[in-house]
């Protein structure tokens, strides 16, 4: 146990270093975007935070789905712990990506929010996983909770791409906003961008490990409590 703890601690420190390097790169090293107003140029740097957060939320919910399927197949509690831990991290980074995107949208689109397909789908995805946690909290028996949550997790994840498609066809009246999102990154920006992606992915892995351990500990405490009648 102490050896795995040591490994995890070193990994955590490495991850913290990566995050600091990514923050430094995003704020200092990355070149300014050209051809934008001063406000937009400044806000553009949010991409090093925004895109990795959005990527992490998708990754996290994807892992939740895989863990849910694994739970239904194997019925091992471990997979349920992974699913709920990953979904929780996913929700946090969904909020992070939404908030940072909103900060960027104000100077770039002149509004905090618009019903663009990506934004709308993202909101629906957020609501899906809020429902996922409400469902979990409404069930007491751990085995049943794990089973129901796994089934819902699979439905939720599969509905995200269909929702995206339907909203994209529906809201074709705002092509300018959608196109303005597709700016390419200049050569100087790419290293920092990928550094951020790597750092955030590492952060996800570390958070997931800690969160799964916490969940396992909680289960053990619950089991002990039941055994001794507290």
């Amino acid at each position: 146990m102490s050896r795995t703890n040591g490994l995890l601690m070193s990994a955590t420190i490495v991850c913290a270093g990566l995050m600091l390097a990514a923050a430094f790169g995003a704020l200092v090293l990355a070149p300014n975007a050209v051809g934008l107003t001063p406000d937009e140029t400044f806000a553009q740097r949010i991409i090093y935070f925004h895109v990795p957060s959005a990527w992490l939320s998708m990754l996290a919910f994807g892992i939740t789905t895989i863990a849910s399927i694994a739970y239904l197949v194997t019925a091992r509690r471990f997979w349920d712990s992974v699913a709920v831990s990953s979904a929780e991290i996913g929700i946090v980074f969904t909020l992070a990506a939404t908030a940072s995107g909103s900060l960027w949208a104000k100077p770039a689109w002149n509004t905090w929010w618009t019903w663009d397909p990506r934004l709308t789908t993202y909101t629906i995805m957020f609501l899906l996983y809020v429902a996922y946690f409400m469902l979990r909290s409404a069930l007491e028996d751990p085995a049943r909770r794990a089973r129901f949550a796994a089934v819902y997790g699979i439905f939720a994840f599969l509905s995200v791409p269909i929702t995206f498609m339907s909203i994209r066809w529906w809201r074709t009246i705002h092509p300018i906003l959608i196109d303005s999102k597709d700016f390419g990154l200049s050569r100087g920006m790419l290293p920092v961008f990928f550094l951020s992606l790597i750092a955030f992915t590492a952060l996800y892995v570390i958070l997931l490990i800690y969160r799964v351990r916490l969940e396992r500990t909680r289960e053990q405490v619950d089991a002990l409590r039941e055994r001794f009648g507290y």
């Binding site: 239904l72 629906i124 609501l127 899906l128 429902a131 409400m134 469902l135 409404a138 069930l139 007491e140 049943r144 089973r147 129901f148 796994a150 089934v151 819902y152 699979i154 439905f155 939720a156 599969l158 509905s159 269909i162 929702t163 498609m165 339907s166 909203i167 066809w169 529906w170």
Partner: protein, 223 residues
Amino acid sequence: MSFWHVVGAIVWKDIRAELRTKDIFSSMFVFALLSVIVFNFAFELRVPAMKMVVPGIVWVAISFAGTLGLNRALVIEQDKGSLAGLLLAPVDRSAIYFGKLLGNLLFMFAVEIVILPLVMVFYNLSLLSADHLLVLLLGTYGFAAVGTVFAAIAVNTRAREVMLPILLFPVLLPVLIAGVKMTGALLDGEALSTLGNWLQIMAVYDIGFTVVAYLTFGYVMEE
């Protein structure tokens, strides 16, 4: 008994119980009617022509009434202990799923048959064409296919009546969007053939989630 015999027996049981109590149909119908009337007052003063909001009214009324019906169907089943009986029966769990799905679908169609003419009278337009009905059929099927699984989940939770819409509506959104879009376009006089994309999305939704429901329903019903 073969698979479809079992499905038929479950549907027949639901129909007979419903014919005796009229519990599900009456609550669904009254609620759908109330929604249509409430929406009338919610929109009337702000919208240039009610025709513009009728697709939304129809689909939201169907969704609300459908949610109510799905809940009732499973709550009655559980409170009377017949759900336990169904689970004890030596039949495939997916047969129970398709039986409940068809039962829910029939009840929803029954409500739609009554509510559509009323909408047509209230808003002075026609929804009686093969295209309109096909769209309604596909949308209602998608609703029931997903809703039957979620109702079976919700009935086992605390606060079961509240849980179903929270679980159902975000997953249901593609069907609602496609349904509103197609009904609206048909009302504007477009042909269904120009709406291929939307039909496709509904068909993909219906087929995809029927398969997922078929694969997962056994886990929901496991005791």
